[in-house]
Symmetry: C2
Subunit: 247 residues, 2 copies
């Protein structure tokens, strides 16, 4: 049973193998035997070295899709479907994955001097300018969150020309500035809605809200965005997946 891989060097073999296995896992093709073929079997099937197979498996293990048991084999992690694990996506992508229709109402969008807090978050020098974007985020046309976003102005020239009502901010950044987010720090806390936020969200003043502060970094660890999002507690909850050591 020879599986075929593209060997023109455009896509690494271990990536192709990982993708192929990921699909088979999603289709539950291993469910009968409850486990994957051994590393040596896979190496033979794909006609690659065992090290390459191990590299592919490691990727899947890191994602929590599979786990190894020494001396026994490799197994599919049949944990309940990730209803929605919070990851490095923007609001739009997140709502879509939840089956909701995202939209935005831009309340403010201007270039301004960075405040001390923003300067520190974005690691900017004194006098640096930022884009300030204030949006009401809707899901199925109902208010879901109130968001304040700061972006270093020098990184995104002419950002003001884009329509952020329809487009995902992250999409604009990737497509027009080739700016990809790589990792982020988030701080979550509970708070009571202030008068202004309560009015926008359509809840009473003092109602509980979930506040998420997020700083997004590029691959070279440069801060790209600093955001402050206030979610309605009755409509939103954040799900995380935690793992030990990561190995």
């Amino acid at each position: 049973m020879q599986e075929t891989l593209t060997r023109d060097g455009t896509v690494p073999l271990h990536t192709q193998i990982a993708e192929a296995l990921r699909i088979k896992i999603q289709n539950e093709e291993f469910k009968e035997k409850e486990n994957l073929p051994s590393e040596r079997e896979l190496a033979e099937q794909y006609a690659v070295s065992r090290m390459t197979v191990r590299q592919a498996l490691q990727k899947l293990r890191h994602e929590g899709l599979i786990y190894h048991e020494r001396g026994i084999g490799t197994f599919v992690n049949n944990r309940k479907i990730d209803v929605h694990t919070r990851n490095l996506n923007g609001f739009s992508e997140e709502m879509i994955s939840l089956g909701l229709k995202p939209s935005s109402r831009v309340l403010t969008f201007q270039r301004e001097l960075a405040s001390d807090e923003v300067m520190q978050n974005l690691q900017l020098g004194a006098g640096a300018e930022v884009f300030y974007l204030e949006r009401l985020r809707l899901a199925d046309d109902e208010p879901m969150a109130f968001e304040r976003t700061y972006l270093p102005a020098y990184l995104f020239p002419k950002l003001e020309e884009f329509d952020l009502t329809k487009n995902s901010l992250y999409q604009v950044l990737v497509e027009n500035y080739d700016s990809r987010m790589h990792h982020a720090e988030e701080v979550l806390e509970a708070a009571a809605a202030t008068k202004r936020v309560a009015e926008q969200l359509g809840v009473r003043t003092g109602a509980p809200v979930l506040v998420v502060r997020r700083i997004v970094f590029s691959e070279s660890n440069q801060p790209i965005e600093s955001a402050h999002t206030v979610y309605r507690a009755d409509r939103y909850r954040a799900t995380f997946y935690l793992s030990k050591n990561g190995a």
Copy 2:
């Protein structure tokens, strides 16, 4: 400059190398040149194969300590210190890492029939029994959180004999049942404090609180614990680190 490793097979070489490099990074020994030696140099220094070095580096890269630039080299990620990233630790460990003194007041500790929700969370069958542990968690002798914990009774016989006022629950589980947590799912939401919780936490009824629901799994993906923790919003915030794809 030959670095020495223990080669008796007790600790994998790549682990030793990763540890050695981690220490050097923390001591900022690479700061002058701003980068690490090349993989080939490291292989020579430690007298191992380059693949082994790469394995060590991959571990560090996963932790966000370093990053690679193709054709250039490997660099230390000089991001600000992780003040406190939420990870798979219990309350006690978390408070200690924050520099606070943890303690507990056990309000309830009994064996009981699992409710439907708990049954589902812990993947138990009908009629299964669980330990129910209700604790007020203190930091520096001030109320920080109100916690309800459920554990499958069949996994932890005689759990009732331990003093959970002084000891960390996770410590008891590891030391006495060899039960190690491997990963967890957490759901965070904001809420208003109920009367009972408010009294225990010493806040007014309706004050905002951060509710964390956590299910902890073993390495073989078996649910070990289901917890529901209500944190005072004015004393606690949760910090997470998010990364793309994990590669």
